[in-house]
């Protein structure tokens, strides 16, 4: 039994879902519904109260709530409906969505197109297999951020942070500014995956030591964390005996990576990439199921919300065109990861594509003074030099429509790779 029919159903009212909705509406689609499980739209930006968002898109530095508010205001202006407090329970291949909320009960919605914009979640301790006790005081950085910034509570007094990704660095500063003591930030890799700016402004400004090539090897404390042991690791990331340092702390924050939240996508039968953990998509961000699109962190984990928004505008526009009956043409060209490249998105494009296509990927390691190269068959389509490629920063490379024409003339797949200097 279908309770409601819509043209485009968007799952998630974070920056991805909001941008997709705006783009779809601007393409003339009126029947759009956004479902959001939290009580308010805005997604994770609501708790990201630090600044640094929007430089690319708005040419100014906003805080997370301010960035989100701009999209929320626009969505409201356009009269797009958002249902908050609504959790999607299932998505099917034929675009039937079941959802539940206290206000509207259990509902089945039929959509012509669906945009997946559920975001990502943090890697928990279990995934790290960190030994020790399972006492209170071990939080993912995002959970701690929610407690402080949205709930008004402090999750700890003396803190060690495992992982030097941006969320971990940001929380080091937040906890310090709000009156806690951060003793150390510990990173298993020999480099931080966070921005230089955050290392300087979140750690150095507050004299918080960063331990590179170190990890937490033990957690002590029966009821609440009483301390952690940190040890240096070898090149295989195995702790080196004898290098242990003990910290007396009551809190361990984990900032050890993000994972796209694709349980609903899997349920629908959407093909996922083992590299990105997100859907396999084409230049329209269409997944393996016709009419189901994915964008934002559920597709692949971004570092800049500006990129999330631009990607999601594309998904929204494409979904609108799909609803209007516009079809893509041409052979399918697969896009593959070459040397030094992990998780190129999109993973395929149509030969008939007449618009610019932006490829995004993560460098597999740090490469200085190197060149990103796009090849098709034996032909080099594009080269882009950069002073640095680093895993901490998503790399982008845009093929102009004119450059794509060259692709159409040759057979074979596209490969994106990195050429190191002197190679």
């Amino acid at each position: 039994m279908i309770d409601l029919n819509v043209d485009i159903l968007i799952i998630g009212a974070g920056p991805a879902g909001l941008a997709a909705a705006i783009a779809a509406k601007e393409q003339g689609i009126d029947s759009i519904l956004i479902l959001e499980r939290e009580d308010m739209p805005g997604g994770i930006l609501r708790q990201c109260i630090h600044n640094g968002f929007g430089l690319h898109r708005f040419n100014e530095e906003l805080t997370g709530p301010e960035y989100a508010q701009r999209d929320i205001d626009r969505v409201n202006e356009l009269g797009i409906k958002i249902r908050c407090g609504t959790t999607v329970l299932s998505v099917s291949e034929d675009k039937l969505v079941t959802c539940v909320s206290s206000e509207e009960g259990f509902r089945t919605i039929k959509a012509k197109a669906i945009i997946l914009a559920m975001g990502c979640r943090e890697r928990p301790r279990g995934a790290l297999c960190t030994p020790g006790t399972r006492c209170a005081g071990i939080y993912s950085a995002g959970t701690a951020q929610r407690f402080v910034n949205l709930e008004g509570y402090m999750p700890g007094r003396r803190v060690v942070i495992l992982g030097s990704g941006d969320i971990g660095l940001i929380m080091a500063r937040r906890m310090t500014l709000q009156g806690a003591k951060v003793l150390a930030c510990v990173e298993i890799m020999p480099y931080s995956s966070g921005l230089n700016r955050n290392i300087v402004q979140c750690l150095e400004d507050y004299d918080i030591p960063l331990y590179l090539s170190h990890t937490v090897t033990d957690i002590k404390g029966r009821e609440r964390v009483e301390g952690v042991t940190v040890a240096r690791v070898d090149e295989n990331r195995k702790p080196i005996p004898g290098t242990e340092i003990d910290f007396r702390c009551d809190t361990l924050l984990l900032s050890c990576g993000l994972i796209p939240e694709n349980e609903l996508s899997l349920g629908a039968g959407v093909e996922l990439s083992p590299v990105t953990s997100g859907a396999v998509v084409d230049e329209d961000l269409e997944t393996s199921i016709t009419g189901i699109y994915a964008c934002g962190n559920v597709l692949h984990v971004h570092d800049l919300v500006d990129h999330v928004s631009s990607e999601s505008f594309r998904a929204g526009k494409a979904a609108a065109e799909y609803v209007k009956g516009i079809k893509r043409e041409g052979r399918i060209i697969h896009v593959k990861d070459g040397f030094g490249v992990r998780g190129v998105v999109p993973q395929r494009i149509h030969g008939g594509c007449r618009e610019d296509v932006t490829f995004m990927f993560r460098p597999a390691s740090v490469y200085r003074n190197s060149t990103a190269v796009v090849t098709c068959g034996n032909n080099v389509i594009k080269r882009k030099k950069a002073m640095i490629f680093t895993p901490g920063e998503m790399a982008t490379l845009t093929l102009k429509a004119s450059e794509l024409e060259a692709v159409q003339e040759v057979d074979g797949d596209i490969t994106v790779s990195i050429e190191q200097e002197g190679m």
């Binding site: 609501r46 109260i49 630090h50 600044n51 530095e61 805080t63 709530p65 301010e66 508010q69 402080v148 910034n149 949205l150 709930e151 008004g152 500014l177 709000q178 921005l195 230089n196 700016r197 290392i199 300087v200 402004q201 400004d205 002073m387 640095i388 680093t390 901490g392 920063e393």
Partner: protein, 119 residues
């Protein structure tokens, strides 16, 4: 006098050497690869600036209010600004952009709300 700093403008993270007079006045910078780097080095060695964001409690509400300095302020004032923030009393309704503390510590910079709180 020389100071070593890492550039924060992009992931390259140039290591720059800044030469200053004994009084801390900027003379020159080396190691940068762009103009933005040079500007940053000069600023960071003479008067480092920071945006400050924070959450403060709202009277009668569990959810705290997020605030920011409307523009960057001298880094050395961070502690004092946090102290000022600990003493301010706010209550709903508050609108995004509303001035919470005008001209904080005579910097000419306001502390403003970065979200709205309804009554």
């Amino acid at each position: 006098m020389e100071k070593l700093i890492t550039c924060i403008n992009c992931p390259v993270g140039c290591r720059m050497t800044v030469t200053l007079t004994e009084d801390g006045e900027f003379i020159s910078v080396t190691g940068n690869t762009c103009k933005r780097g040079a500007d940053y080095a000069k600023q960071e060695c003479t008067l480092p600036l920071r945006m400050i964001t924070a959450v403060i409690p709202v009277d009668g509400s569990d959810m705290p209010l997020s605030v920011k300095t409307a523009s960057p302020v001298p880094k050395r004032l961070i502690k004092e600004i946090m102290k000022e923030l600990s003493e301010v009393k706010v209550s709903a309704p508050i609108s995004l952009g509303q001035v919470i503390i005008p001209d904080i510590l005579n910097t000419g910079v306001d502390i403003i709300a970065t979200r709205s709180v309804e009554k």
